[in-house]
């Protein structure tokens, strides 16, 4: 279990680094897929079986298609245009401050929640993380959030039609 955590964790970090280091946008997308698959492995290690599969289907499948489409829409040439320093002054420094600040904040939250002191091998309820357990929770406890999701998705469809569809109708 620990081995899975370390391998998947290192792959996830490597993938995330690849996204920002890669020179070609398509390579960034491939790195992001590595990151997403490594996260799915981490979810599996946490017994979140259904979530891991969703991670692969939705993120590695559907969301990646959107990323590739954006690249194809803007440019897929070997010499990307946007490689010069952006117009925003000192965005590198600001990015560094934000990244470090975010990391400190996350560690502080994890520490205050006592994540380091949690019992390692607490027995999980049977079927934890399975599609059945997820469905039961979804249709009872979280029914309101579930129906709300439909409206979020509806807003996405309408947003697409309004933003993109106008030009050709």
């Amino acid at each position: 279990m620990t081995a899975v955590f370390w391998i998947a964790g290192i792959l996830a970090v490597a993938g995330a680094l690849g996204v920002i280091v890669a020179k070609t946008p398509v390579h960034s997308v491939i790195s992001l897929v590595v990151n997403i698959l490594a996260l799915a492995a981490l979810y599996l290690a946490l017994h979140a079986e259904f979530l891991a599969l969703i991670q692969v289907i939705v993120y590695a499948g559907a969301i990646m298609i959107l990323f590739l489409f954006v690249i194809a829409l803007l440019t897929a040439r070997k010499d990307p245009i946007e490689r010069t320093e952006g117009k925003l002054e000192g965005q590198r420094e600001l990015g560094l401050v934000t990244a470090v600040g975010g990391a400190v904040l996350m560690i502080a939250v994890a520490a205050s929640a006592g994540l380091g002191r949690m019992p390692a091998n607490e027995a999980l309820p049977s079927g934890f993380g399975s599609a059945a357990a997820f469905g039961r929770e979804l249709l009872t406890t979280h029914i309101f959030s579930f129906e709300l999701t439909a409206f979020v998705l509806l807003a996405a469809v309408i947003g697409v039609v309004v933003l993109v569809g106008r030009r050709q109708l």
Partner: protein, 118 residues
């Protein structure tokens, strides 16, 4: 739990190894003799015109975005289908409300002609 996925891990490892070995074997065995005609993009035997990497029309994006929305909907159908029998009519109504809301979006996109390929 993770033990059930050992097969998946083995499959991934063997798959990656297969690709690596095949490419390496090809690299070692094939003759290396590139010339401009051989390196040209293959366009069904025609002489290639323009760049291979072009900008796509934004129209494709509508389809992919709408696909993502319904992909997420499908994701919710799986756990619902698994517990369908124990949830009974209640579960059915809840899911019909969910799908109904999304069908509204589909009808809207359809009526607006966003699904038509002009």
């Amino acid at each position: 739990m993770l033990d059930q996925y050992t097969g998946v891990g083995v499959f991934l490892a063997v798959g990656a190894l297969f690709v690596a070995v095949t490419l390496l074997a090809g690299k070692l065995l094939r003759p290396h003799n590139p010339y401009p005609e051989k390196l040209a993009t293959y366009e069904c035997g025609e002489i290639p015109v323009g760049e291979g990497q072009i900008k796509f029309h934004i129209r494709y994006y509508i389809f992919s975005l709408i696909f993502v929305v319904f992909d997420v909907e499908t994701v919710f159908l799986y756990p619902w289908a698994v517990v369908f029998e124990e949830m009974g009519l209640f579960g059915f109504v809840v899911m019909m409300l969910f799908i109904g809301t999304l069908v509204e979006g589909l009808v809207y996109a359809w009526k607006k002609g966003a699904l038509r390929w002009v």
